[in-house]
């Protein structure tokens, strides 16, 4: 039976992975993500899966990709410095189209930075950290229950689209404790060792022969189908090609395969946006502060709303543009110097004003700081409300 428990985000992450059938974890310890590895080391052998601590983050993601090809759902977790090292194999998994899940629990950077402090500075690295053009799916849970749900969803998306999926949250979400409904270990044991179904192949398997915009299901190694995978640009057969027509076509398909909303439960959340004149855009722990700020602004008579993406990449362009038809002011709140704000500006800047509220000092943005920014940029409030103190 699933039951309500008081756990950290990092624990919920491990449970989310296991409930989705993840049975392979390879990782390297790093603050503030290490609890994910520790939970997986403890739980995986009990539910029929394998844990291995690798020699570094590069090897960790490599092992995950290898295990995924072997048919196991695979995950690794890390933080900024390790995430930087993983960019090599995020690019490989994206091009070779091998599903895997990478959790990045963000700490303050750059470099070794401030390892125990929260930040949201990996948002652009998560999208563009590897070289070349490639698709990337980045999910951004804002609480412990949602870490569980989105980590589980990440596996489904990764398998269906045959692509790496990043679950991106900050140190506060990773370490804070909240009640969350998690499955019991017995349920996970009962589900057994998940193996990717490998449908029988008629004739030659063409691992990159797309149909209707998506690649064919991946057939695991060892299932009696022999084929080739490479990090070189390849044609439908998986072998390298230098034919410009095939190269261009392959990369176009690759870069168009991820839909804006990769799964039903991944739509952005809107709070009080129907009549809003100012909308705060925030994700992760910042969205929790923004929610409080919006409520307080409403109490002060300001028609404020919240737009909270669950998917940072691909960015929710349709939803944001739709909103910009009725909202003239966006306040993007982030624990960085405006990384996702650039995307909001790109998407709605022609129709609405986009301002930011940033804090990069190792502490989370408070509701008060966000509220002050909202009041600063909103039209004057009625006098009855204006006299009230900001709580």
């Amino acid at each position: 039976m699933a039951r309500l428990r008081l756990v950290r985000g990092n624990t919920a992450c491990a449970y989310g992975a296991l409930s989705a059938g993840c049975r392979f974890y390879a990782g390297y310890p790093i603050t503030p993500s290490s609890e994910v590895a520790e939970e997986m080391a403890r739980l995986l052998p009990r539910v029929g899966g394998v844990f291995v601590q690798m020699e570094d983050e590069i090897a960790s993601l490599a092992a995950c990709i290898g295990a995924s090809l072997g048919g196991l759902r695979s995950m690794t977790a890390t933080s900024g410095p390790g995430f930087t090292l993983m960019q090599e194999h995020l690019g490989y998994a994206a091009l070779a189209e091998i599903p895997c899940v990478v959790v990045d629990v963000m700490r303050l950077g750059p470099s070794t930075g401030f390892p125990t402090a929260p930040a949201q500075g990996d948002v652009l690295q998560a999208r563009w950290g590897s070289h070349g053009d490639y698709p990337m799916v980045v999910l951004a849970p804002a609480g412990v229950q949602e870490v569980f749900e989105l980590t589980a969803a990440a596996f489904e998306v990764a398998d269906r689209l045959r692509t790496p999926v990043v679950v991106l949250y900050d140190e506060v979400v990773g370490h804070m404790m909240e009640p969350a409904t998690l499955p019991d270990l017995s349920e996970l044991v009962a589900s057994g060792t998940w193996r990717r179904p490998s449908p029988p192949v008629q004739g030659t398997y063409l691992p990159y022969a797309y149909s209707e915009g998506t690649p064919p299901p991946l057939v695991s190694f060892g299932e009696g189908t022999r084929y080739h995978i490479t990090g070189l640009i390849h044609d439908e057969s998986g072998f390298p090609t230098q034919d410009p027509g095939k190269v261009g076509e392959m990369l176009r398909r690759l870069n168009e395969k991820v839909p804006e909303v990769p799964a039903d439960q991944l739509h952005p959340e809107g709070v009080a946006t129907e009549d809003a004149e100012v909308v705060v855009v925030a994700y992760g722990i910042t969205a929790r502060a923004a929610r409080a700020a919006v409520r307080q602004a409403r109490e002060l008579g300001v028609r404020a709303g919240l737009f909270r993406p669950r998917v940072l990449w691909p960015s929710p362009a349709t939803a944001l543009r739709e909103l910009s038809g009725r909202v003239g002011m966006f306040v993007v709140a982030e624990m960085n110097f405006g990384q996702w704000a650039r995307e909001v500006e790109r998407l709605v800047g022609r129709w609405a004003e986009v301002v930011t509220v940033n804090q990069v000092d190792g502490t989370p943005l408070s509701p008060r700081t966000i509220l002050e920014r909202v009041l600063e940029v909103s039209s004057p409030v009625p006098s009855t409300a204006a006299g009230r103190r900001i709580s």
Binding site: G48, A62, G66, Y92
Partner: protein
């Protein structure tokens, strides 16, 4: 009679990318004959490779083949082997791939004793990028990034892997495909991390820069330097009469099966823990 192992090749991928005179094809031939002699079904065979000339050989083998990133093949292979312990996983790597950028993965694969057969092609040069020095280039030898002679000493890959805990360590050469095949057969049969370093040749860069001639001259020079050891390998004399393992030492490099040990194999230990449900 040399068996026909073309069934293990993807002949439709020919012609291959290797240069005329390159020794890598000899090594692949010896490997496929060893695989054939052991009767390993193609569907149970996985070949994982890194980046470089030797790593491109994976694409020519009719098996499940994975061409990965520079130096990281062993890490991919470890994950694959853990997920599919029933697969025979062979790793093809070069001296730059395995001993320079991938050195960390090599020593840790050896320490864990993952049941992989790692074949390292040592031609003392970076061929694919145009003849730069490798960690196996001996001091004084010329390369495109060492035009006045290489100022650094070279790695002894076998000593490194043995020190790191590899349980089967051998060195052979492209000049002697029969001895090489005998060693590779032993390596494939070994349960644990096997490392076979094979001296091959790169006439296009290494041979030309060092005025050592074309492919045949380079191979003949192997014979001149290592002939006696090669004969021992062909005779399968892996152990000398006094019972010591090293078959010989030529110009500072030891040849033959240099080290063999029995230690618990990593994937077996991991899945044993799983079967016990995590109980210690």
């Amino acid at each position: 009679m040399i068996p026909d192992v073309r069934g293990y090749l993807r002949e439709n991928r020919m012609p291959h990318i290797l240069c005329p005179g390159c020794g890598h094809g000899i090594v692949l031939g010896a490997l496929l004959r060893a695989v054939h002699a052991l009767g390993i079904p193609q569907d149970r065979l996985a070949v994982v490779a890194g980046i470089g000339c030797s790593s491109r050989l994976a694409g020519y083998v009719d098996a499940c083949t994975l061409h990965t990133t520079h130096g990281r093949a062993l890490a991919f292979a470890a994950g694959l082997k853990l997920a599919r312990p029933e697969l025979v996983v062979i790793v093809l790597t070069g001296d730059g791939d395995g001993l320079s950028i991938g050195g960390n993965h090599l020593i840790h694969a050896a320490r864990r004793n993952v049941d992989l057969t790692c074949i390292l092609f040592n031609n003392a040069v970076y061929g694919m990028t145009g003849g730069q020095v490798a960690p196996t280039t001996q001091p004084g030898w010329v390369a495109s990034t060492a035009p006045y002679g290489h100022p650094e000493p070279a790695f002894d890959g076998c000593a490194l892997v043995q020190g790191a805990g590899g349980t089967f360590v051998a060195r052979s050469m492209a000049y002697d495909p029969r001895g090489l095949q005998a060693i590779l057969t032993e390596a494939l049969e070994h349960r644990g991390f096997s490392y076979v370093e094979v001296l091959t040749d790169c006439p296009v860069y290494f041979g030309r820069y060092n005025r050592l001639g074309e492919g045949p001259e380079l191979l003949w020079s192997q014979k001149a330097r290592f002939g006696e050891v090669g004969q021992m390998l062909r005779d399968k004399r892996f152990v000398t009469p006094d019972g010591t393992a090293p078959a010989g030492r030529v110009e500072g490099l030891r040849f033959g099966i240099l080290h063999r040990a029995e230690r618990p194999e990593f994937t077996h230990v991991c899945w044993s823990q799983v079967r016990r449900g995590g109980d210690p």
